[in-house]
Amino acid sequence: MDDKDRDPTKFTRRRLALNIIKAAAKGIIVYVIYYVAWSFISPIAQMIPSLQQTIQLFVMIYLALLIVGELTSGTIYHYFFNTGRALFVIGYLIMSLKTGVLGGTLENLTFSVDLRLLLTFAVLLSMPNLAKSVLQTISYLNQKAEYTAAL
């Protein structure tokens, strides 16, 4: 069978292996970005006790959705997870917006930082990701329909 005649949506062992490699690579890249960013932020995070927990929970769920999404690449579930990830980021940021003021204490100084504007930018930036996921899903379904019609 020629490459052109192969089902682009078919899930094979070769694809699974590739998916595992891609999932690992993407997971490592995201974790490295988190690790590097965290090494800079950690001195401040010591002053704001809730910050570390909030960011770690976000990164954990994001990484889980990313890895599962990549492992199921080539199936419709890949797009479900991608869309779910985009929705999770938007939802998490919107939830954070409610309590977007982080506070801490340093000696006898009590301080608070208002991150709501930054979080709003992040929410806006998450919208294209959601749009991308929806477009990818449409494209996938389109490819599948074209292949079925060609048969």
Binding site: I44, L109, T110, V113, L115, L117, L118, P128, N129, I138
Partner: protein, 259 residues
């Protein structure tokens, strides 16, 4: 459709990286902000006013401008009531710049001492609440609050009128000498008049006297009040009513029993 999707993906990835990098650098700038408060000082100004000065140093070692820097000082008494308030504003503090300023809060002594007798006779602790607000990199509003305790020294600490000592003045009158003492624990000296009225056991005023006083800051005062009273009106029990009249406040009567 794949090309537009890829373009969206690449563009958002770059924007996310930019946002993360900006957030990290802003967080680092936040860490590099320095605030330090000096020791608060109380000085006596004209027009019965006390000036409470708090030196404040702000250092911006970060990479971004600090904007809309404002400091609000609120002086509170022991019960948390607001005594005085002041604010100052600096529009911009550039990266690498250090701004030294003194936040001055004016306390009107007349209002302060007339309304709070405790501050007149008892040492106390005033609280200076410092509220600092600024915007970093035009994106992160930051607020900080610090408390500084200021010891308040009472100007008439331990005001005491002792029992009168009588000696004859003439055929009809006696002189009653009343030792009067107090400690001025305040950071300012003052002068004024102590008006003393003496009442016998029946509640009738039998003598009155005005005594001029002048006390330096953080000094004790010891003096006498001489009262001329008719022999017939003397009783072993009674009370004094003391009025304190100074340039910055009038207070009285303070009732002190004798006998």
């Amino acid at each position: 459709m794949n090309i537009p999707i890829k373009i969206i993906g690449i563009a958002t990835a770059f924007l996310w990286l930019f946002l993360i990098a900006f957030s990290v650098s802003a967080a680092l700038s936040l860490r590099d902000l320095g605030f330090s408060f000096g020791n608060p000082q109380i000085t006596l100004a004209g027009d019965n006013q006390l000036q409470l000065s708090l030196p404040l140093s702000i250092t911006n070692r970060g990479k971004y401008e600090m904007q809309y820097f404002n400091v609000t000082s609120i002086v509170r008494n022991e019960t948390g009531g607001t005594i005085a308030q002041s604010s100052s504003f600096i529009n911009t503090i550039n990266p690498g710049q250090t701004v030294n300023t003194t936040q001055t809060t004016v306390l009107n002594m007349t209002d302060l001492l007339q309304n709070d007798r405790n501050l007149l006779f008892n040492d106390s602790q005033l609280t200076l609440d410092e509220h600092v607000g600024l915007t970093l990199a035009e994106l992160f509003p930051l607020k900080a609050t610090a408390n500084v305790s200021i010891p308040w020294g009472a100007p008439f600490y331990n005001l005491t009128l002792e029992n009168p000592e009588y000696r004859p003045y003439n055929a009809t009158h006696f002189i009653a000498t009343v030792p009067i003492s107090f400690e001025n624990h305040a950071e300012f000296g003052f002068s004024g008049t102590i008006q003393t009225e003496m009442f016998n056991g029946g509640g009738t005023i039998i003598a009155q006297s005005n005594t001029n006083i002048s006390v330096s800051q953080r000094s004790p005062y010891e003096g006498f009040v001489d009262l001329y009273l008719p022999i017939s009106s003397i009783s072993s029990l009674g009370h004094f009513e003391v009025h304190i009249l100074t340039s910055f406040m009038n207070y009285g009567p303070i009732v002190i029993p004798y006998g």
